[in-house]
Symmetry: C2
């Protein structure tokens, strides 16, 4: 039993937990992180980061196939899928090592093991090499995040049935794959496997791919994916999924019509579930809300001294939101600053064309009966996009019709995930569309479309 | 002689002139543009746009060479230089056609020819198919821009001696090339020709490449270029340039030491000069300042009714600044809005790694004796950069030590030219560094480095 008394013990070392630990370390606090697997959590080891490495290989592979359009040629373009995956694992390992280094630098004690709250002020390690260790601590922060939901009766086996986790360590691109769920994860893997030659069927129960995104964006993405060779079924349910020795059969049901699909593998991307198993002893009262840990405005759970931050709190399940919440929780618990709640935040999908957005979709603005106007500017009218030979997509700005306040921004196209940053700042500063187009955007850049879309809300865009 | 009376006649159809015309058209004005060559001007036909097309081919060609690192392989990789250049010319032509379409859409009369001001209220076409045509007009806007400076006695011949203009239509990459001047143009062509196999020597009289950029940025670029195989000579003068039948010889003089260099071709990128030849009749008073047209706060020249906007006004010679000035001039002359002067603006260089900045360099902050602090964040610590295998460079923020006001931002690295947009808005809104890092940046994106650099000014960056 450890006698050390910590200021803060954090359970879970993902983008909430590790960032919280570093911030607390910066504040001079004595901090421990207990992480079951590897520093960096899902995001860094089995999510955001390794997928981006895979996608980079996929993009590059696809760009090689278009070499001719750029005056280039290559006679033999091929890929070694094992190397593609190995590189991705290597990137994740590098980043995880980086987090471990940051722990040392910030004097954070790091333990691999399963942490469990005995009571406020006391954490036990219940599995792993430190099993049986107890930590006394002034504060506890729960950051165990989430894991992919599985299909009932069809757990991921890495061969016939995968979640994102198994897909990240695939041995080869399946000849055919059905991806169930067209949220960001489903869409990114659809792009990835299609690029490497899999026959991809993407299935979404809701009426559009990327259901949280603006309808117009989803339409353009559906068109682009279809052109890339991906079969898309929206408004479609999967029923009667049968995993066999060499294939999986499932029924696609749309408007009462049933079609059978047979594929080598299915990828289940139907959502996530909070990692709560064994997290607190039965004596600890931890109020939940729809399966996620309920917190107050200071990120404190229903038990004083126990805080929670990140995906475990519920949506939006985004790494950057998790980190933000975690920093706020820490700054609040040590009286450093009044914790802020999450205001506007960007959401990104890294297929090609990329999708990024912040704020309301047009449908949401309509539902809220807001008096809004829309400015839209296509990348076909942007010099840099034409020069790069990549003109798919647009920037769409939704603004209050009277005040010009920015209500929502939706980008589909090359580098959308970087371009969203300017509007992210604009919305958090409550800037108006006029302030956007009054700011001089460099020529020639894709960011010119940000200014032009703002002008377009007045019907004043220059280049359309 | 035309009897039409225009509200505005614009001489020069580049990013100042054509944007002014469209804006005036939007305001319902009767407008004519007289352009000597092709709509879009230098920027679109012989500058920003076609260079970006060339650079895209160069980047892709270089990425082929790194395929292995991404689990890919490409054999028999080659380029067809004529096709690379042809594509670039095609991109320029597409964009020029686009401007001509916008003229029609906005009811702008467009004449190819050389425009010359007879007096306030009267413009004559002095060359081209419309020669002898006169235009009566309420306002005149001079937007003839600039052209590259030539070496005295060594005009560009497209073989031994090139300016950017000839380089844009080169038939083949020269075996060896000396680029005189390491501003944005020199640096971009150095990257381009080096990528396609030329032996490149880049020569700059001042102590660093990209003399207007921050010293630390220039150092990283010099290191990167040297690694790419470019020979760099800063603080070096070129003397005794002798163009021969098969080569050019020149003396590089540094600290009194002379070295002879022999190359197939030289590219002269030593600055620009305003296009004033025959622009106004001798009777028209046009006050100049160091060779550029002097204007007042309403963009009016020394002769009432004659305005000037864009590069012809003097530095900064940037297309986006030219367009901004032109819109202001038009809105002012028609009483639509009080014309604004150029505040902060971004500057971009599109080699790899890219360079972008806005505001003061650290040296300038020092010279102004400002009480500043610096936050620097490297892309090696950014997950997206690691995932993409492209970790060169950093974001550097210079902020007022007391108020946190952003004084300058300097980025070197992948997509720097897009990333600068957020800080461009921040500076035009006079935002503080705290407002930057309080805005949630999407993970994983390169834009995270923007927030981290802001935190770094407080010593609070998370990932270093």
């Amino acid at each position: 039993m450890s006698d050390a008394i910590y200021d803060l013990v954090i359970i879970g070392g993902g983008p909430a937990g590790y960032v919280a630990a570093i911030r607390a370390g910066q504040l001079g606090k004595k901090v421990a992180v207990i992480e079951m697997e590897r520093a960096g959590g899902t995001c860094l080891n089995w999510g955001c980061i390794p997928t981006k490495a895979l996608l980079k290989s996929a993009e590059l592979y696809r760009s090689f196939q278009k070499a001719d359009a750029y005056g280039l040629s290559a006679t033999g373009v091929s890929f070694d899928f094992a190397k593609v995956v190995e590189r991705s694992r290597g990137v994740a390992a590098t980043m995880a090592k980086g987090v471990e280094f940051l722990f040392k630098k910030n004097k954070v004690d790091y333990f691999v093991g399963k942490g469990s709250v005995v009571m406020a002020g006391m954490v036990e390690v219940t599995a792993g090499e430190h099993k049986g260790k107890f930590f006394k601590t002034k504060n506890i922060l729960l950051c165990t995040g989430q894991k992919p939901k599985q299909l009932p009766g069809l757990p991921a086996d890495g061969v016939r049935v995968m979640t994102s986790r198994e897909a990240l360590a695939a041995k080869a691109p399946p000849k055919s794959i059905a991806i169930i769920g067209a949220g960001a994860i489903g869409v990114e893997f659809a792009y990835f496997f299609n690029a490497f030659g899999s026959k991809v069927t993407l299935i979404e129960m809701l009426p559009q791919v990327l259901p949280v995104e603006d309808e117009e964006v989803a339409k353009v993405l559906e068109r682009s994916f279809t052109k890339q060779g991906i079969a898309i079924h929206t408004g479609t349910k999967c029923e009667n999924i049968r995993s066999g020795a060499t294939s999986v059969k499932l029924d696609l049901v749309k408007d009462g019509t049933k079609t059978e699909l047979e594929v080598e593998t299915i990828l289940v991307a139907i959502g996530i579930t909070a990692n709560l198993e064994g997290l607190v002893s039965p004596k600890v009262k931890l109020e939940l809300d729809r399966g996620f840990v309920k917190v107050d405005a200071t990120y404190q759970t229903s038990t004083p001294g126990i805080y929670a931050a990140g995906d475990i709190q519920g949506p939006p399940w985004l790494a950057h939101v998790a980190s933000f919440r975690a920093v706020q929780a820490v700054e609040g618990m040590f009286g450093h600053a009044k914790p802020k709640l999450v205001g506007n935040f960007p959401g990104c999908t890294y297929c090609q064309p990329q999708v990024a957005s912040t704020g309301l979709t047009e449908k949401q603005a309509k539902e809220k009966k807001l008096d809004y106007k829309v400015g839209k500017f296509p990348f076909t009218a942007v010099g840099k996009a034409v020069a790069a030979g990549d003109t798919e997509g647009f920037v769409k700005v939704i603004a209050d019709a009277k005040t010009g306040e920015i209500l929502g921004v939706h980008i589909i196209g090359n580098e959308a995930t970087e371009l969203i940053a300017e509007y992210g700042l604009a919305m958090s500063l409550e800037a108006t569309i006029d302030e956007i187009h009054d700011s001089i955007h460099a020529h020639p850049t894709l960011s010119e479309a940000l200014g032009e879309a703002a002008l377009a809300t007045h019907g004043k865009a220059i280049h359309i």
